[in-house]
């Protein structure tokens, strides 16, 4: 009996330690980034583009990368939504009763979700070569769009599934077409769409491997889709590789900016998801 109790106690302590390590690693990461990044943080970092000699430690900031990232993540999210809302509606409204097909479709999107971003990057690069595009904002947006479509479809799909079937049936029985019913459903899931937007934006803004081949890098803020665009994660990556201490410091500060942006996005989407599930009927 004592042996069993001891085993129980021992394993419980192990579990608590494991939980502390898993949850603690989050604080360790954020703590490291904050403590290293804050000393190098300045208003110039977020308000200026790189000046002359920026990469040997002189004047400037990473505004080019911040704007570039916003463009890429924003553009990809908009494009992604335009594609994935119809897909999610199609799976849920037009294929009702065909469980075999919807199961396959959902599995395919899950699988696509698991494909690493470097493969999307390489594939985006192939598309660009095929169409004769050079590294540009457009190329980055295309690669990141491919990356976020599975995420968007699966999130929207989950959200649409929470809409009660009665609502659909009511709309349909009043004589509305499937598309009109879909509009009713879309209105119902508006917070869910916001969640999907946030998730997709968060994934898009933080990803490196997909934009590495496709978006290029530039010290200027892109003014058209065909110009190369810097992105924040890539700026961090490049600056960290510099032997100049000042530039490495900027990598820490850029990492801090990215961490804060992503944390805000994640917290917002968490809150939205909670709210949404509370109103679920």
């Amino acid at each position: 009996m004592i042996k069993r109790k001891l085993e129980e106690l021992f394993i419980k302590i192990l579990m608590i330690i494991a939980t502390i390590i898993v949850v603690g690693s989050f604080f360790l990461i954020v703590g490291t980034i904050f403590s290293k990044g804050v000393p190098y943080m300045s208003w110039d970092m977020i308000s200026k583009i790189p000046g002359g000699g920026f990469y040997i430690g002189k004047e400037g900031g990473v505004l080019n990368a911040i704007i570039g990232s916003l463009y890429v993540a924003g553009g990809a999210t908009i494009l992604g939504l335009i594609i994935s809302i119809p897909v999610a509606i199609f799976i849920n409204m037009y294929l009702t009763g065909k469980n075999f097909i919807t199961d396959i479709l959902r599995t395919v999107f899950d699988v696509l979700f698991g494909i690493p971003s470097i493969v999307y990057g390489a594939f985006g690069f192939l598309i660009m070569v095929y169409f004769g595009l050079r590294t540009s904002l457009l190329g980055g947006i295309i690669a990141v769009t491919l990356l976020v479509i599975p995420l968007l479809v699966r999130t929207l799909d989950e959200v649409i599934r929470t809409v009660p079937g009665e609502l659909r049936d009511a709309a349909l029985s009043l004589g509305s077409t499937r598309w009109e019913t879909a509009k009713v459903v879309l209105r119902q899931i508006r917070p869910g769409i916001f969640t999907a937007i946030l998730l997709s934006f968060g994934r898009g803004i933080g990803d490196v491997a997909s934009v590495l081949f496709t978006a290029g890098f530039s010290d200027n803020i892109p003014t058209s889709l065909h110009e190369p665009a810097a992105t924040l994660p890539l700026a961090i990556f490049f600056q960290l590789g510099s032997p100049v201490e000042e530039v490495q410091g900027r990598a820490y500060a850029s990492a801090l900016i990215l961490t804060i942006v992503v944390l805000i996005i994640t917290v917002l989407s968490e809150i939205l998801i909670k709210k949404f599930s509370k109103h679920k009927i």
């Binding site: 954020v30 699988v111 690493p116 917290v267």
Partner: protein
Amino acid sequence: MLVFTLASVSLVIIIGIGLYYRSIPVLNNSSWGQLLSSSVWKPMKGLFGFYPFIMGTLWVTAISIIIALPLCLLTSFYLSEYAHTRIKRVLIPFVNLLSGIPPVIFGVWGVLFIVPFVQNQIAPHFVEFSTGYSVLAGGLVLAVMIFPLIVSIVNEVLNTIPQELKDASLALGATKWETIKKVTIRKALPGIVAATVLAISRAFGETIAVLMVCGNNAIVPHSVFDAGYPLPALIANNYGEMMSIPLYDSALMFAALLLFIIILLFNVISRIILNRLERNLAG
């Protein structure tokens, strides 16, 4: 809608075909077997041996799973069987936040924290000298990256296990741990396997964070303190020069194709298991 759906679903096939098409030149030059088993990497001479890179990938993936799996299983059991609802409500959001952190931040953290940690705290006990940039550092960073994935999936799987089963075991006088050991784990095993396979495929494809801490040396690692050079890092690192050397771009696309095939297989297997679990629950 049909068009969009078909287009995005067929992406799986199109990516595969596209990558294969671009790998044909290097496949004409040497066979699959040669590419996979040779360790000579001399792009200038047209020799592309992927063996060191495949081994590099396997090392970091294995290390990360060995570290992450026990920790995550214990955490999931704690969260779903022991922890008070209030504690759960506080802790789970942090796991979700961890999953939102971008790979490059993990990389920066790896350089700032894990690499010095390996160099100064772990390595001196085992080897004479290590820079810290090693497959162990890569594995550690990856382990933290896959924490949220394993914990959230295993948690969901554990939630599908009927309370009556556990109650029956507890009512017979088994302790909570005995119930987990003899009832819950057995019932949750397919789900745990699926989560592990998913985590492996995530670790396999992770690029930038690993690239930053792994040392990127094209040799087959012999100990955890050796530098390694995983496949995704190879693709990402050499993109700049790949257009100037013949066959190089084709070889890199072959690397991407390899990753794609392996990860596709792993994902399909684990998703089929998970979907079956979900359907059993619904049915």
